[in-house]
Point group: C2
Chain length 340, copies 2
DNA sequence: TTGGATACCGCAAACGTTTGCGGTATCGTT
DNA sequence: AACGATACCGCAAACGTTTGCGGTATCCAA
C-alpha cells in the first residue's frame, strides 16, 4: 500500500536521495561503484520511480493523449494500435478519449488531457469540429499536437493524411474504365477537409472524362452504415439509380450494399460500389467490396513518430511536416467491369 | 507555456492558495461569497488544476489503466469504448496498453501503469498468461483490479465474463437440433479458462445428446483468422470433414469460412459454422454467420463500473463480485437446418 | 607543504496541489 | 462588558522527484 520511495532506497544504501536519483539516470557525477550498488538495490527492492512525481518536477509527463471520434470504429482502433506500438517502444503510454463525433466532448477531452499534462496530443477531429480554438489553446500552452486523418487544415501542426483527392479520383477513373458512366457519390460532411477533397476528386474525375455529375446522385450524410442505408433510401425514393457509387468509407458502402441487396438490386450488375478503408468486412461480403485501402496502422505509427520527434527536438523547434501516406485501390467484385 | 497555477489565481484574488483550493472543492469553511469570486476568476483566467500535482498529493490519479491483448480486435476495441464511456462520465481518463498476447509485454504494461499510479486496473489477460504474480503484485500495492473476458480465475478480483460453458452448450444444442451430428470444435488455448469452459460446454452438449466427440475434429489453435484457416487445413489433410464446426470466436470462424469456400465446401450444406462474438463481418458474409453475441460494450461498461465502485468505496472494502453477462445465440444462414 | 584540479556526493529548493492546525474577526449570550 | 461560539481564512508541511550549488576528500604537481 505504502510506496517504496527513493528516500527509502537511499536510506537502505546510506546515501542521499539525490545520489540515488542521479545514479539511476546515469549522471557523470556518480561513481560507477555507487551506480552499480544503486541499480542492484533498486532491483532488489522493486523500486520503480513514481512517474507522477517525476512529471510534476519535469513539468511534463511521459504519456501522450489521443482523441478519436469513436474507438470502436475499425479504422480508428487500428490507428490507435499503431500509436500505442511506437509509444510503447519509446517508453510512453497513451491516454485515449473519444469525442463521439461531438465538438463539446472533444473540447472536454482536450481539457482533460491538458490537465493531465500529456506530453503531446494526437487527434482526429470530429465531424462537428468547425472551430479549433480548443486546439489553438493546446498549441498556445506549448503542447505539441499532430493531426491525422481528419485534420483542421488551417491549423499549423504536423499532419498525417492520405491523398484523398487523388484516391477518390483514381477510384472514379477505375469505375469509368470499367464501363460505368452514371456515377454517384455518398459523401460525408462538407466541413471536413477529407470530404471536400474526396468529393472534388470525384467531380474532377468525371469532368476530366467528359462525364456530367448528376447532382441527385451526390448525397451528403455521415460516416456510418445507417448513413449508407439512408442514402440508398433516397435513391430508391427517387426511382432512379446510378450505375455506380463511390462511398465515402466502407461502413457507408456496406450500409448501401445491404440496403441495395434488400431492394433486389444486383451488385455490380445494376450498380457497382466502391468504398474507402478496406475494413475487414470489405473482403468478406459477396461480391467483395472494391475499396481504397488506407494504411491505418501505419498512419498511427507515423503520427506518433512525428509527435515524438517534436518532443525530443524540444527547443530546436522543428518545422511542421505533413506526410501523406500512399493508398491502394483494391479492386474486387463489387466493381467488376460492365459486361464481363 | 508557463502554467497558470493556483498561486497565480490566489494572488489575483488577494487570498491564499489554500482558500482557492478549498473554494474550488466546495469546502464548508469558505464563505459563499468567496466561493463565487473564486469560481468566476477561475473561469475568467481559464484555470484548470494540475492533475499531476493533485495526484501526487492525493497519492492517486484519476486515470484508470486498461490492458488488452490487441486494441485492433473488434471485440476489445468495443470493450474499450464502453470503458471510456463510463470513465468519462465519472471524470476519469483511461490509459490503454496492449500486450500483443505476450506475457512479457503484459507485465511491462502493468508496471508502466502502476508507475503512473493509475487508480485502478482493468485487464483481459493474454493467451500466454499462466502465472499472475504481476497481477498479485498490483493487488498487493492496493490497486483495485477487475478482470474481464479472459480472466485468471484463481485471482480474487471482481470479474465480468459471459457464461462460456452455457453459451457453447446451447450453440451445440442448436446445431444438433438443426440436424447436425458430427460436430467439431476449433478451440483456443487450454490454459485460458474461457476456452476450457467453451470446450466443456461443447463436449457436454454432445454427451448429453448421446453423441460421441470425434477427437480429430477438436482442434486447438489461436484466436485469429489464420488459426481458423489452419484448422481447416488440418481437416482437409485429414480427408474427412465434420458436419458442423463451433469456432472459438468469429475471426476463427471467418478464417474457416473463407478457407472452406476456397476448397469448394458448401456452407452450410456440407459443413455448418457457428462463431462467437458477432463481429460486424458476421452478418455480412454469405451465408451470414450464426454466432453467439457477446455484449462487448456492456462488458466494458460494467467492468469499469465495478472498478469505480471499489474506488469510491475505498476503506469499506467491498466484496469481489463476478458478474456474468447474458449472451444471445444469433441464428443465421451458416447453420440452416439440415435439409431445409 | 601548499595549491588547485578532480571526483563524488549532500542540502535544500522547487514542481502545484491539499489539508491539519491555528488564528482573527464577528456575533450572540449572560 | 466579558466570554465562548462560530465563521472564515492563512501558514506551512507534505506528496516523491530532480537539480543547482556548494562541500569534502583525494590526488597530482610544484
Amino acid at each position: 500500500m505504502a510506496q517504496f520511495t527513493i528516500k527509502d532506497l537511499a536510506r537502505k544504501l546510506g546515501v542521499s536521495p539525490s545520489t540515488v536519483s542521479r545514479a539511476l539516470s546515469d549522471h557523470p557525477d556518480i561513481s560507477p561503484a555507487t551506480k552499480r550498488r544503486v541499480a542492484e538495490a533498486a532491483q532488489k527492492y522493486h523500486y520503480h520511480p513514481n512517474q507522477i512525481a517525476q512529471s510534476l518536477q519535469k513539468k511534463r509527463s511521459s504519456t501522450i493523449g489521443v482523441i478519436v471520434p469513436e474507438i470502436r470504429h475499425n479504422f480508428f482502433s487500428t490507428v490507435i494500435s499503431g500509436i500505442e506500438e511506437v509509444a510503447y517502444e519509446s517508453g510512453y503510454t497513451i491516454m485515449v478519449c473519444q469525442s463521439n463525433e461531438t465538438l463539446a466532448r472533444e473540447v472536454l477531452n482536450t481539457q482533460a488531457l491538458v490537465a493531465n499534462r500529456v506530453a503531446g496530443l494526437l487527434i482526429a477531429i470530429s465531424t462537428e469540429t468547425s472551430r479549433w480554438d480548443h486546439l489553438e489553446n493546446v498549441l498556445a500552452r506549448g503542447v505539441p499536437l499532430v493531426q491525422f486523418d481528419r485534420v483542421a487544415e488551417p491549423l499549423d501542426t504536423s499532419k498525417v493524411v492520405i491523398d484523398d483527392y487523388r484516391a477518390a479520383y483514381e477510384a472514379v477513373v477505375h469505375l469509368i474504365d470499367s464501363g460505368y458512366r452514371r456515377i454517384g457519390h455518398f459523401s460525408g460532411r462538407e466541413v471536413i477537409a477529407m470530404d471536400r477533397h474526396r468529393c472534388r476528386g470525384y467531380l474532377d474525375a468525371l469532368a476530366d472524362h467528359g462525364l456530367a455529375c448528376d447532382r441527385r446522385f451526390l448525397i451528403r450524410g455521415g460516416y456510418r452504415e445507417e448513413d449508407g442505408r439512408a442514402a440508398v433510401e433516397r435513391l430508391l425514393a427517387l426511382g432512379e439509380l446510378p450505375d455506380a457509387i463511390l462511398a465515402v468509407n466502407d461502413p457507408v458502402a456496406v450500409g448501401a450494399f445491404v440496403r441495395l441487396k434488400e431492394a433486389g438490386v444486383r451488385i455490380p450488375e445494376d450498380v457497382a460500389l466502391v468504398g474507402f478503408s478496406d475494413t475487414p468486412a470489405a473482403a468478406l461480403i459477396d461480391p467483395a467490396l472494391t475499396t481504397v485501402y488506407q494504411p491505418a496502422f501505419e498512419m498511427g505509427r507515423t503520427a506518433a513518430s512525428l509527435l515524438l520527434e517534436q518532443l525530443t527536438a524540444e527547443g530546436g523547434s522543428v518545422e511542421m511536416k505533413t506526410v501523406v501516406l500512399p493508398t491502394e485501390l483494391r479492386v474486387r467484385g463489387s466493381s467488376r467491369p460492365r459486361g464481363a
